[in-house]
């Protein structure tokens, strides 16, 4: 048993650290550290810096720009990004649509979309949830009717998506749509469709969350014509595609690096509270939880490395504990600041507490994650 990184892995981490120290623009880092809003241009600026370095999509195959790093190296890289305070890499293209096309896309689709995702030329968003279909995603109703005629085969899409993160920035949306309402199993009537956000008939309406931020939207489809070539995989196999994505190896589900940075910030801003036992004990407990999660994450990586198996329901455990810790840190940060202070950080910290409540709801609520573990790990 050896909990430490190897000398090579430590050297790799140091290389990442020093590169980030030299290349992460200070104004971006400061914005992230002060919980400020990041514009589309700012998100893309960082994306393009990493793309130019060749590190924006480490998990992709080398021929499409991947780095060939091991799972441990990828984990180290992603945690270092979080720890350094870099802007988030928006996952919809790099970690979702990209992997789907790599696994299920045609050569033409790969050639058309992957380089543009890599370089940040296209901004993607994800069209899954609908007003009546949250956790019960397979009940989705947005319809895509295949028609022949005019300028070739195409689908006509009608319906509504909701909670669509950054749809107001997006050039493209990948959607789960219902292509067969009569399928015996409702999952079999679902298809995976790529839709150009500039197509006539698409309306994006902001949904302002309780922190006042505009991150998510409603997206309406009114007789939207989508070329049939934008279907990914086969018609009626969209659920297979979606399930593949759920099990896709995302190394940073637990957001360890990000939470370590928050913990360090908390210790700085809460320094005046460290003499208070009640406060200090709460901080210590969350630090212990974070340490436990980090080691658990490393255990899973070690197993993945040895077995070559995808992490499966382990990711659900990381998501549950990771988000609970993120929320715990945000809550302590809220309490560390003076309740009546009006300095920008105190104000931002209050907003952030509100915003972080979403983490246990999005990307498969923590209750759904528990269902997944109960079913696939425990056999209940």
């Amino acid at each position: 048993m050896d909990l430490n990184y190897s000398a090579e892995e430590l050297a790799f981490r140091d290389e990442m650290r020093s590169w980030l120290a030299a290349n992460l623009p200070a104004e971006l880092r400061q914005k992230v550290e002060s919980y400020a809003h990041l514009s589309k241009d700012e998100l893309l600026r960082w994306h393009r810096i990493l793309a130019a370095k060749g590190w924006v999509a480490p998990a992709w195959p080398r021929e499409w720009g991947g780095t060939g790093w091991s799972v441990v190296q990828r984990y180290i890289f992603e945690e270092e990004l979080g720890y350094a305070g870099s802007p988030p890499l928006i996952p919809f293209g790099l970690a979702m649509c990209g992997p789907v096309l790599l696994r299920f896309g045609t050569e033409a689709q790969k050639k058309r979309f992957l380089p543009r995702i890599y370089n940040g030329d296209d901004f993607w968003c994800q069209g899954y949830s609908e007003p009546g279909s949250g956790s019960d995603l397979a009940s989705l109703k947005t319809s895509a009717r295949r028609v022949n005629g005019g300028r070739g085969e195409h689908y006509v899409v009608n319906g509504q998506k909701i909670w669509t993160t950054l749809a107001h920035y997006a050039d493209w949306i990948f959607c789960l749509v219902r292509t067969d309402s009569g399928a015996a199993k409702r999952q079999e009537g679902i298809s995976f469709l790529l839709i150009d956000m500039r197509t006539p008939g698409i309306t994006v309406r902001p949904l302002i969350l309780m922190d006042g931020a505009h991150d998510v939207n409603e997206v309406f489809f009114d007789d939207v014509k989508v070329p049939a070539e934008n279907l990914v995989y086969e018609e009626g196999k969209g659920w297979t595609v979606a399930k593949y994505l759920l099990g896709y190896e995302r190394m940073n589900t637990g957001r360890i690096g990000e939470s370590k940075r928050q913990l360090a910030t908390l210790k700085r801003h809460g320094a005046h509270l460290m003499q208070e036992q009640r406060w200090r004990d709460r901080l210590s407990r969350i630090e212990v939880e974070l340490t436990a999660l980090e080691i658990t994450n490393l255990r899973f990586l070690d197993r993945m490395r040895r077995t070559g198996q995808p992490p499966g329901a382990d990711v659900s455990m990381l998501k549950i504990r990771g988000t609970e810790i993120q929320q715990g840190l945000a809550e302590l940060m809220l309490e560390a600041t003076d309740p009546v202070a009006s300095d920008p950080l105190s104000v931002a910290v209050r907003s952030r507490y509100l915003s972080m409540r979403k983490t246990t709801i999005y990307a498969g609520s923590n209750e759904i994650q528990r269902n997944i573990i109960a079913k696939s790990t425990l056999g209940l």
């Binding site: 909990l3 340490t291 490393l298 425990l378």
Partner: protein, 357 residues
């Protein structure tokens, strides 16, 4: 980075599990508990498997093993709820190995390794809770006076390592068990313990004071973290099995989401505790300094204590009335986890220690 046991560690853990599975099942354990409270036969078997010598140096016939080498064994002990006072014995032997004169070591340690001599540590005193330096037993002119409490394994031990205060501060002493008066009792988890009275009792000094004691207790804490993981693994396994077989309203109760989610949370607690037990054992063996070691072990004990409470309480609750019954092993696992959560310091103690380090 590697979280597996090496081949030797795995082989040892497997052979201990095999022995316990064959000769130390729940029924056999009941007989031991109903009798003397420990089994000479079991002790001798464990010695034959090499457990007494494993953590001792080669010069005494041991293998120089550390906490990581013992993790798999301790998990097996936690699973089987072994009542023999192995950890107390290992800690006492460790203190003698590090602080005994060559004459003391030569006289004692070979018989320890062979499983003939049994040792215990007499440290805790009433009112001290977990404070290491709250020692009132007095040492003067080679004799001890005062009282020690909850000395695990004392009734079965041949010798005791005792902490006592002299004009020079807190020191460690070696005492013949036959030279003291003891009041034996059973702990809540059915182990043999005693209060020990010293009345001008002859004692041989050992080298080492608080720092040696703290190191030994850190080592023991790492061991019981692994023991707790073994006990929690059993609690989770047996509860999951119960959810799948117990039927109410015509269906297995494991089909109810309220219970599924609680079961998942038990497993998450177990896995988080297992991670921290790995950290504790690794740092017990190979920390840069005492501070790093103690910080890691306190952090681990906080998590393990929290998880032990959570998992044991939920295991009983999800078993319903059966979980309360003495007939089911899970109620005994509950008792063991209740004790392990507090042994060598509860979560509050280790939170305070972590903050002070």
């Amino acid at each position: 980075m590697n979280f597996d046991y090496n081949e030797e560690q795995q082989l040892l853990a497997d052979s201990v599990r095999r022995y316990l599975g064959k000769s130390y099942d729940f029924e056999a354990r009941k007989r031991i508990v109903a009798g003397e409270g420990w089994s000479a036969e079991a002790w001798s078997q464990l010695a034959q498997l090499g457990l007494m010598g494993l953590p001792m140096g080669a010069e005494h016939g041991g293998f120089g093993g550390g906490a990581v080498d013992l993790m798999g064994v301790m998990e097996a002990f936690g699973d089987a709820l072994v009542v023999e006072p192995y950890v107390a014995h290992v800690l006492a032997a460790r203190l003698i190995e590090r602080g005994g004169s060559s004459a003391q070591q030569g006289a004692l340690l070979p018989s320890v390794v062979e499983g003939r001599a049994k040792l215990a540590v007499a440290h805790a005193e009433k009112g001290a809770r977990f404070a290491l330096d709250a020692v009132q037993v007095r040492s003067a002119k080679g004799r001890l006076s005062g009282e020690k409490n909850a000395v695990i394994g004392a009734p079965a031990a041949d010798r005791l390592v005792v902490s006592a205060r002299s004009d020079a501060g807190i020191g460690l002493y070696l005492v013949e068990r036959s030279a003291v008066e003891i009041k034996p009792y059973r702990t809540v988890d059915e182990r043999l313990a005693a209060d020990v009275m010293f009345r001008d009792t002859p004692a041989e000094p050992l080298e080492g004071g608080l720092a040696a004691l703290e190191e030994a207790i850190d080592f023991g804490t790492a061991l019981i973290c692994a023991e707790a993981v073994g006990a929690m693994q059993f609690a989770c396994d047996t509860t999951l099995e119960y959810l799948k077989t117990r039927k109410q309203f015509g269906v297995p109760i494991g089909t109810f989401q309220a219970l599924q989610h609680r079961m998942v949370d038990m497993v998450i607690s177990l896995e988080q505790a297992r991670s921290m037990a790995c950290l504790a054992a690794s740092k017990a063996d190979a920390a840069i300094d005492a501070r790093e070691r103690s910080r890691a072990i306190s952090a681990a004990k906080i998590k393990v204590a929290d998880a032990a409470r959570h998992v044991s309480q939920e295991a009983v609750q999800l078993h319903g009335g059966m979980g309360m019954s003495e007939e089911l092993k899970v109620s005994h696992t509950f008792r063991r986890l209740t004790v392990l959560a507090r042994e060598y310091g509860d979560a509050d103690h280790h939170l305070a220690r972590l903050a002070a380090l």
